[in-house]
Amino acid sequence: MSTPFYVSPQQAMADRAEYARKGIARGRSVVVLQYNDGVIFVAENPSRALHKVSEIYDRIAFAAVGKYNEFETLRIGGVRYADLRGYTYDREDVTARGLANVYAQTLGTIFSSAGEKPYEVELIVAEVGAGPEDDQIYRLPHDGSIVDEHGSVAVGGNADQISSYLGQRHRDGMSLAEALKLAVESLARDTNGGERTLTAEQLEVAVLDRTRPQQRKFKRLLGSQLTRLLDGGEAPASGEESAGES
């Protein structure tokens, strides 16, 4: 009878982590920044239908990179978790911290269970608070750890470089246009330090805007509104904004 090869636990985990990291690094990045009225999500994503950034609940949104079917499953699981929690208790009892915990447990269990393939995803869960100091941003890497982030964060391929670029330039109290400009600049830099130009069609942009009168603070910035923000740099008039959404 043959003896199976011995693989040390360290090696097994390192292999799984390597596998997941490679999968994640293949995709384009997503950046999340705090600005004075909330949190902005910017992703390089030419698709109008397959989103990387989505609404979870009133004040909570979700961004992900990696394998689409895997993070889509997690996104829907998160929506179900949040809606069920809000239905059994109250809408106020749904928090980003709770959701991030459940995601971390899920990712962690899958990562360390030998029978399952590790998820090749990295998630961000953000919640907008009453003021900038109450905003919460959690980054969830593939292995089930949670990182509490402040100011700016990037995930996906080339995330380290983008993070350090953002870290140097992001400051508290940026306007929406400034934050968007910085986010697009950071995404437009490629690994060799060169610059590309990203147009509105290549970007997926959404905000959690604490000034929105509606209970649900999540809003996608689309079409002319996004182009105007990218070009002119001035924030859209609040009247136009409400006409588009009401």
Binding site: A49, H51, T73, R80, D83, L84, T88, V102, I110, A243
Partner: protein, 280 residues
Amino acid sequence: MEANPRSTGRLPAAFLTPGSSSFTDFLAAHQPDLLPGNRQLPAQGVVEAPHGTTIVAATFPGGVVLAGDRRATMGNVIAQRDIEKVFPADEYSAVGIAGTAGLAVEMVKLFQLELEHFEKVEGAQLSLEGKANRLSTMIRSNLGMAMQGLAVVPLFAGWDVDRGKGRIFSYDVTGGRSEEYGYAATGSGSLFARGALKKLYREDLTAEQAATLVVQALYDAADDDSATGGPDLARRIYPIVTVISDEGYRRLTDADLAETVRAIHERRLQEPDGPRASLL
């Protein structure tokens, strides 16, 4: 905790199973005891519970108005003077409910969540017909309660984004759904309200006129039905009037309504029966 049936704390399989975009379907699979329709009913017996009464709706060229009075009754007692029976279902629709208040509020909560859940999961809104059908299913699941006297009978109104018009759907206790053209009413005062709507309704109303029309109808309902409450000028409790148009759902403020209600009241001091229609 509902997300933590085992010690791992990971999301249970039901949460991660792809497929349904319906929150009620998810509840049925994961926590069926939370569904209103799955409750065990006692074999017999009657429960006294507050009932809400009259809901009216009318379309106008740019949308639809849905309104309800503020009274809840329990037998001969007025259980509540300022109950709210008209709710936004989502951005482009609203639901007003006559019947057992407690069950109605729960049904609306689940219905709102059903629409929101679908919108978040699918990234698109249900069609207005789709929304109306979901409400049908929910009323049907309440049939057991209805047979014990705890009926819930809603009126659903919304702006049909695809067709570009306001539409009204009425229901019976078995979940039977029918589209109403022009105007509709439900609840104990609905006979009187419908009579008033019939005589006053015109197709070319503005949103403001449509709001006045539904308040007039509720006034007439309150005049002849003891379970329907009229505008309470002393306490400043006015009917709830909502307008749904291509700009979405909007509830008229008390300040807006105060003017309309006062004008109607002043006229009725001269003509207690309200505006008169011509004989021929």
